[in-house]
Subunit: 216 residues, 2 copies
């Protein structure tokens, strides 16, 4: 196992994998001098990351004006227990995207972006549900951020202890972290034993996505 | 079950619980007009949230100068599968803190903050490991952000479908999400069967923290 305490990653395939595995992103923008960081759904399609929100939200209105933005995703992979407090750490993978978002104008492109959000989060679900109406599409803003200025950081592997600490009688290693799904909870109008939804019965957080190469 | 699609929360106990359960935060700041969002460890102690980093990092240097900051934590609790694409959602709890960070000057306070980071992440670990040396403390910047301008948003409960969609033959409900720990992986110098560390054998992501009320 190689020891890689913290490594900048520029490989596009690695960046895509992190973006696609993360269920949510944190989106940064500045409004009247104050930075804001808000959680958001995102979906990568080819060289673009989409996010969306209500036309009424401050974040979406601010970002639609083309201000500088930052979209960050982080996956926690493990607790790194070193023999010293100082070298205790986390294994993680994160991607930071800088750029300016542009609003997706056409309703067809907006619909495809919404499909990408859903297919990424819950593969197979799109065909099970009622698609967005014209009115719903009208109230939804979809913004696109290009994968231009993007970097990733990855920490993986065991703790990186100082040589002088290696003799200490301390358990050292990694506690892996995973996201897991509990048993699906049907709502009050869904029959408890219903297994009609393939999307529900096959859902796993360790999914591989299969998004189209581009929307527009 | 009450239907609460998205609710602003101002209750301090609820805010504390979200901050304390989240393993990492996303920290926003502006550098030369560009917002940045970076993942960071955090620890709440009383009315203050601490985060830290290397004295050499751009984020820490920028934030030490007292610029406006935003610290956000988000917990994902479930996928909300509605009968329509439009109402498909996530159950989550998030906290957004606005303010300016100040550097923690004294080494004793810095040590206590580092202890809080570790006790929050891995309860019981602090007494098992070598404590920070004077040199390590010197290279570490700890910043404090007061819990002044803080808000939380929570979405919980089943999907919120349009009345006209309730007859659709679609499975609707919630897939709960959890963070779980895999079997601890000892490093190459730790005996495989070693169970010396109580912090390792008792670790669970659903921990309750017991932080001191204040550091300074």
């Amino acid at each position: 196992m190689r020891r890689v305490p913290s490594r900048a990653v520029y490989d596009r395939a690695a960046i895509d994998e992190i973006l696609d595995e993360a269920m949510i992103a944190h989106l940064g923008f500045v409004h009247e001098g104050q930075p804001f960081v808000i959680p958001t759904l995102h979906a990568r399609v080819g060289d673009t990351v989409y996010f969306h929100g209500s036309a009424a939200s401050r974040a979406i209105r601010t970002l639609s004006s083309g201000v500088a933005a930052c979209l960050t995703v982080t996956l926690l992979d493990g607790l790194v227990l070193a023999r010293s407090a100082f070298h205790t750490s986390l294994n993680y993978r994160s991607v930071v995207m800088l750029g300016s978002a542009t609003a997706v104008a056409g309703p067809d492109e907006r619909r495809l972006a919404l499909q990408a959000f859903m297919e990424r989060l819950i593969p197979g679900r799109w065909v099970e549900v009622r698609p967005p109406s014209a009115k719903e599409l009208k109230g939804t803003r979809v913004l696109a951020l290009p994968l231009d200025e993007t970097s990733a950081k990855v920490r993986t592997g065991p703790p990186e202890d100082d040589r002088s600490d290696l003799e200490l009688p301390v358990w050292a290693g990694v506690i892996p972290l995973h996201t897991t799904a509990g048993a699906p909870i049907p709502d009050r109008l869904t029959p408890p034993q219903s297994t009609a939804s393939v999307a529900v019965t096959t859902w796993t957080p360790q999914r591989k996505t299969n998004t189209p190469r581009s929307i527009a």
